[in-house]
């Protein structure tokens, strides 16, 4: 009897494990996000327009807040190592989000000029 109960307990436990594992598989399968990979490649493509090291400014239409905007800043830093990416202008080089109104409305960009063609969503500026 005890043997039967222990076998039943093991069977139940393994079924529980299988259900958990298949649930994990389904959860992972349903996810679809390659956004960060795309961003990393995009920022890495800007490296050719930047000096090999040193500080780089980062300008976005607004202050980076928790969410996609802040995540983009983090990915920019990751892609552009060993450069040091920080929010705001000041450094000789800036990575700027290619949003039409940023260049015109943001006075933080005065004194800078495009340094290269940039990517789809970002462009490098350098001090004139």
């Amino acid at each position: 009897m005890l043997d039967f109960l222990s076998r039943a307990a093991v069977a139940l436990l393994l079924i529980w494990c299988a259900a958990t594992a298949f649930s994990a598989l389904a959860t992972t399968f349903s996810r679809d996000s390659k956004e960060e990979t795309r961003l990393e490649q995009e920022f890495a493509s800007l490296a050719a327009d930047l000096p090999p090291r040193g500080p780089v400014g980062y300008l976005d239409p607004g202050e980076p807040r928790p969410g996609p905007e802040l995540r983009a800043l983090h990915i920019a830093q990751y892609a552009l190592v060993p450069r040091l990416v920080s929010v705001g202008s000041g450094p000789d080089f800036l990575v700027v989000a290619r949003v039409p109104d940023v260049r015109d409305l943001d006075d933080r960009m005065s004194g800078y000029e495009p340094a290269g063609p940039g990517s789809a969503a970002y462009r490098v500026y350098r001090r004139r």
Partner: protein, 477 residues
């Protein structure tokens, strides 16, 4: 990829040979446990070498790879020579036990679950080749500074979100393996995660005896949840932390033979005779056990800040045993073994990056504040505890571990739960004292911290009727 595998296996193999050479090993049927300990040692020690190479001004490039590979080969060769003479003194007789169809059925179930876990890890990697956010914020970011930064590799200290003072075992290992691969391949951190996951399973199976069905049931339970399989591809330090915590607990338990401590080492254990963690012939000396515990627990502190708690617990237990058995050499051996990792941590935290962790405000000193513990916080934690490890699985395993601990032969479970309880209390203390939003911090860290406890908790739950450790440290039966 093959080069990075060589870079991963070379120090682990060298440490394995040294473990055999000095007689610190599990019995023949638990080679898996020896392999897990060897990976802990190899990974940790090679990351220390990488760090000090950088501190000395060396770049992580082809020269580093050549010197590193040559050094570990020499270490392995010396260990092999010592092992050759030591192995003649051993008398491990392979034990053949009849395997029932049920045993093979459970093994097959484990194989299926491990395949699913591997599939989840691969899918995760395809979806996020650079790992979970913490990988690009902290661990791989620092590895890139090490690889790309040259003499300015410490510039990551000026990246505020990188948690500059976090220990660097994972980052230095990734940088080292990237150097072996000759490129910053995203698959390299995945390989590191996979090796760590395999080592966790090896430690679980090894300590519970692979000839016994329960070892494979326990391994099935460990690999089933999403949190475990995801962590393989996460490229963070939580799975390595789980490994070092598990192995430290195993070493503490295997070194603790209160029934006959006087028979360990000293006059009873001839220095030339290879001691073992198990088996009937050898006696593991208290000093050697303490050395192994010192290496692994010291390296645990080099994995993550939580590891410092693990080290302090290990130190306390070894010091208590050394005092009780009047064996100060055991404590000295423990301290000497942990010293390389501790000196490195001190250098990192006091000289290179004297910044408090983000969860203490990121400023020097303990700028902490007490957060009121309310029902919402407890509910958040309980929800994670209940749901995120396969509905109800973690509470069930905790209950099973507690039941085993309450039995007469539940010594291993009692020790494990005591250590895990202190570690969990440390997590709660940080949540309680942090100036950050506690609910946010808890929601973003609870799953990862529970992962760290998971393998050791499962082993405790399946450790019923492990016999009391005799003088020979017969843990693995």
């Amino acid at each position: 990829v093959i080069s990075s595998l060589i870079g991963l296996l070379l120090p682990a193999g060298a440490v394995w040979l040294w473990l055999l050479a000095i007689g610190l090993r599990a019995p023949q049927h638990s080679r898996a446990l020896t392999a897990a300990v060897a990976l802990c040692g190899g990974l940790g020690l090679s990351s220390l070498v990488t760090f000090w190479w950088l501190v000395a001004g060396g770049a992580i490039g082809p020269l580093f790879v050549a010197v590193d590979a040559l050094s570990w080969t020499i270490v392995a060769a010396f260990a092999w020579r010592r092992r050759s003479s030591a192995s003649r003194l051993t008398s491990d007789v392979p034990v053949r036990e009849p395997r029932t169809p049920g045993h093979w059925l459970v093994c097959a179930a484990f194989a299926g679950l491990a395949a699913i876990a591997a599939a989840v890890a691969v899918m995760e990697h395809v979806r996020s080749p650079h790992g979970q956010p913490d990988a690009t914020l902290i661990w791989n970011l620092k590895a890139r500074f090490m690889i790309r930064g040259g003499g300015d590799w410490t510039a990551f200290v000026r990246v505020p979100w990188s948690n500059p003072s976090h220990p660097l075992l994972v980052s230095a290992s990734v940088a080292r393996l990237w150097a072996y691969a000759g490129a910053e391949l995203p698959t390299v951190p995945l390989i590191l995660g996979a090796a760590t996951g395999i080592a966790v399973v090896a430690a679980v199976v090894g300590v519970l005896d692979p000839r016994r069905t329960r070892a494979w049931i326990a391994a099935s339970v460990v690999v089933a949840p999403l949190g475990f399989s995801q962590s393989i591809a996460a490229q963070t330090a939580d799975l390595p932390m789980a490994l070092y915590l598990l192995v430290t607990i195993i070493l503490i338990a295997s070194a603790g033979a209160p029934s006959a401590p006087a028979r360990w080492g000293g006059s009873a254990g001839a220095p030339s005779a290879p001691a073992r963690w198990g088996g009937s012939a050898g006696a593991m000396t208290a000093e050697r056990a303490a050395i192994a515990t010192g290496i692994v627990s010291g390296l645990a502190a080099w994995v993550k800040n939580e590891g410092l708690v693990v080290f302090i617990i290990a130190f306390g237990i070894v010091a208590w045993r050394a005092t009780r058995t009047r064996r100060p050499r055991a404590l000295a051996g423990f301290a000497a073994a942990a010293a390389p990792a501790l000196v490195t941590i001190a250098w990192l935290k006091l000289v290179m990056a004297p910044v408090a962790p983000e969860y203490f405000g990121g400023s020097p000193g303990l700028s902490a504040q007490v957060t009121a513990v309310d029902a919402a916080l407890v509910g958040t934690l309980a929800g994670r505890y209940w749901m995120n490890w396969g509905t109800g699985m973690m509470p069930a395993i905790t209950l099973a571990a507690a039941m085993v601990a309450a039995t007469r032969d539940g010594r291993f479970a009692r020790q494990s739960l005591a250590v895990l309880g202190v570690v969990f209390a440390a997590y709660c203390t940080v949540w309680w004292l942090t100036p950050l939003d506690t609910a946010w911090l808890m929601s973003t860290t609870a799953d990862r911290l529970l992962l760290q406890l998971w393998p050791a908790l499962v082993v405790a739950a399946f450790s019923a009727r492990l016999p009391r450790l005799p003088a020979s440290g017969n843990l693995m039966r």
